[in-house]
Symmetry: C2
Subunit: 224 residues, 2 copies
DNA sequence: CTAACACAACTCCTCAGACAAGCTGAGGAG
DNA sequence: CTCCTCAGCTTGTCTGAGGAGTTGTGTTAG
């Protein structure tokens, strides 16, 4: 009967519960009514409620303890970056990368260890060897940037980098394929300068070079 | 028998599946073996597998289509920022805020509209009126910072700000309670300077002022 | 009176079986 | 060749049953 109205019952229950949670019906840490209460109340089966609870527990909103009950763990689910990334333009994502990486480069200049510098230099050297396909070039490029972020000794920035690097990979590849072989040597030079700034513990230079590098990338991308 | 070894079967199945996914057993978009295949294969009931799949679907890793099957949607689950925030120190989070807000301030200086500037000024003015409790002060302070980020016209940065502002709120309150009324007037002055820089579209000044403001906060926090 | 124990009631966890609803591809009708 | 039908597969939902853990209550020993 319903033409295109396909949202599973458990999805609907999950949405309904999340709405009631965000409306403030329960406080964080508080116990929610159990599956045996919710199921007849909502007019669905127990397993349906259970699956909705599992879904929200996967999002970090609910947690269950056998014998005790269902408890509210957070009011808002962790942001769905995939959905956000697909609905915003690539420039916004690159601007987030600019923010993260320029700050991380400054911190890396101040905090890097000898070993981490070696890793960065190794990642830089890889690029000369491997320039077979565009994909591998993007990946080695990402590996270099990541090694810098790791040297910042900040786990939050590293996670942020991973979040956006993974999600901007395809867009980067597409761009390189369209714009046909841009200034690879120039990029390589900039990378070398960044390494130099980090090695000499020049935080502001490392930050500025990273920013300029990514800003150029963003502007090159926006023109296509 | 098992002393403190309580991980539900469906959690174990979810972990196992995620491990196999991250090991590259299936590619993104590909169809996974169905619940009727996995259940006997893993030696568990079908509903157990279903709940594990629901959990991963809540994390954005899997997606199910009735009649079709289970499909891989992403290799890595969305980061659990709550868990990350609780296991890292507050300095790391503030450094992430430094990265986000200093960049956002620069973009806000370039892109803000007249209306957004009014909103920022309103948020600034609020602080003079409301200095009742520490909590409300932190909240009005956050509201001011947020109005700046919103003016950057970058949804990704705004989401990032919300993610970390919400999760550093308690730490900020604790700090202010301990350090007993720090330079509120100085903060207010800095805020006013940030607004001035944005109003005159001085991106680098807005960025630098924001950075200095948050760096001072981080260092004040680290000393406690 | 206090503290330790026993237990009942409640909760979530897991399984099995049944049927509904949706998708897919093979095969036949035109 | 195109379109239709349909069998066989998949996930979705419900129900009943029993297992296991938690919590609070009441009892009992000291």
């Amino acid at each position: 009967m319903s033409p295109i109205l396909r949202e599973s019952l458990s999805d609907q229950v999950a949405r309904l519960l999340l709405a009631r949670i965000q409306a403030g019906e329960w406080k964080v840490g508080q116990k929610l009514p159990g599956e045996t209460t919710l199921a007849p109340q909502l007019g669905v089966g127990r397993s349906t409620v259970r699956e909705a609870i599992r879904q929200l527990s996967g999002q970090g909103v609910l947690s269950t303890r056998q014998g005790a009950g269902v408890f509210l763990q957070a009011v808002s689910p962790s942001v769905d970056w995939d959905a956000l990334v697909t609905r915003t333009n690539i420039s916004s994502i690159l601007e987030a990368r600019i923010a993260i990486e320029s700050e991380a480069a400054a911190l890396a200049a101040e905090r890097h260890t000898r070993d981490e510098l070696d890793v960065i230099r190794a990642a830089l050297a890889l690029r000369d060897v491997d320039r077979i396909t565009i994909e591998t070039r993007v990946d080695t490029d990402t590996a270099f940037h990541r090694s810098v972020v790791v040297a910042s000794h900040n786990e939050v920035l590293t996670e942020l980098f991973d979040t956006f690097a993974e999600r901007s990979r395809e867009a980067m590849i597409q761009m390189l394929e369209l714009s046909g072989e841009p200034g690879t040597d120039h990029d390589q030079l900039t990378h070398a300068q960044i390494v130099e700034a980090i090695a000499t513990r020049d935080a502001s230079a490392a930050s500025e070079l990273s920013r300029a590098h990514l800003v150029a990338l963003r502007d090159g991308l926006a023109s296509h």
